[in-house]
Symmetry: C2
Subunit: 272 residues, 2 copies
């Protein structure tokens, strides 16, 4: 039985034999009054994982057509290819006959990949989690009249440099820190697509602005995380053009392994 909020709130059950699954969108992962995009993506991925042979979403892209509501949700899964090493599927989150999220994913097994390794990307250099952030003034809450529920589910501890940047907004759209599920849920591949989308937007380091709704999010799962529940996270935006921006996120485990890379296209809303 699932014991942690993430597992409880992303569980799905097959509703027929033909690719229809049922889930439930809770209000525990909201930002403002909208469920976090990484959270609803995790619901859809739970259904795809139930429909394909392989355990890991090597690459998944979600497009956000409209905000999900709290309550029941249908997940319509269509497996396009069920292969020996790779399977590809689409899925849609549907509420009130409207598609809220559409995804395209290719699943594989990270443990069976073979080939050379050459990593020039480097994890951020951070003091330990206890020397980062301050639970009383977590920046993800900035600008909201009410503390967003997601900050009780996902703990983000900015590095001292990032905390200073978030206070000053100094034209550098880069954030670094530690992140974990707040109830201490052990790490696995399943929670990575949520965690890449659960830090404050990197553009908050550069500009005073409103929220930054995601149009599209692509996640590459690059490794199975080991170590404690903490991951290092680094996010950055290099091009905000006419209100549209890309954001790149990397997640690293405590052993120094890159476990996920993401890139999203998002729209910047004016300050409230």
């Amino acid at each position: 039985m699932p014991e942690y909020a993430f597992d409880l709130d992303t569980s799905v059950t097959p509703s027929d034999g033909g690719g229809l699954w049922r889930g439930h969108v809770t209000d525990r992962w909201d930002i403002g009054d909208v469920p976090n995009g990484g959270y609803v993506l995790a619901i859809a991925l739970a259904a795809v994982r139930g429909a394909v042979r392989q355990p890991h979403p090597l690459t998944v892209t979600a497009h956000y057509l409209g905000p999900c509501r709290h309550g029941d949700v249908d997940v319509v899964v269509d497996v396009l290819k069920q292969g020996r090493s790779l399977s590809t599927a689409t899925a849609r989150l549907v509420q009130e006959n409207m598609t809220r999220l559409a995804l395209l994913a290719t699943f594989g097994d990270l443990a069976s990949q073979r080939g050379p390794t050459l990593v020039t990307a480097r994890p951020p250099e951070l003091p330990p989690p206890d020397a980062c952030g301050d639970p009383g003034e977590r920046p993800v809450g900035m600008g909201f009249a009410v503390r967003p529920p997601i900050v009780d589910r996902v703990e983000f501890r900015p590095s001292p440099a990032t905390a200073a940047r978030l206070a000053q907004r100094n034209d550098t759209a880069r954030l670094e820190g530690w992140i974990r599920l707040a109830d201490g849920r052990p790490l696995d591949v399943d929670c990575l697509p949520l965690l890449v989308d659960a830090t404050p937007p990197a553009v908050f380091g550069a500009l005073q602005t409103g929220w930054v709704p995601t149009l599209e999010l692509t996640v590459h799962v690059r490794g199975q995380p080991t170590g404690s529940a903490w991951l290092k996270v680094a996010s950055s935006t290099s091009a905000l053009i006419d209100g549209l921006l890309e954001e790149q996120v990397e997640l690293w485990d405590e052993a120094g392994n890159l476990v996920a890379m993401s890139r999203q296209l998002a729209r910047l809303l004016p300050p409230a």
Copy 2:
């Protein structure tokens, strides 16, 4: 009437009123004997563009389930949301009842975007095209017994530093140069998803290896290119892990505007 190879070879016609389009995969964009992934993506996008209201694929992701063959191809388009400012659709390239490519795209109009601009990414510094590369020894031909047809369609002129790197393979997976459609076709948004996938793999700068088939390619179109037919291209790979790699590509026009960003997940094949 289309005059250029790109327009001729990516044209599609509606086959019914219900989302089915017909196209033709030519042998003029092959690498080895497989049509280039950016080329077949352009065929699928031509059909989606015909089905939605907006002109520009702000973000598109393609998953490559199997190589396309030369000949007729069905494009099955499903518009998930037809909105005032944004529309989202899926499309599949189908040959012999098998899905060869599946995509998920959100279209919009770049000219109608409004909001702030802050770009910290920078175009590569390059000598002019005439001082780059050498048509006689274009590196995309390396490792192939027969000159790949695509090098007659897409001209890539590596910078002197990149040409040296490709000759030495020095552990730095970064390539820079100029790129254009070889017949001088004027630039527009339509050809950008092809051009991000038409340079040699960046990993060729680092390792002696075989070809690098794409599993997934995501393209963000960030601007409408201006200037001559030439674009600056910079590609890099920061994490090759167990034979799977990400590759990032940026395209810049001669005015210094970022016009496209892409990231792909690909598999590295051993040297032939």
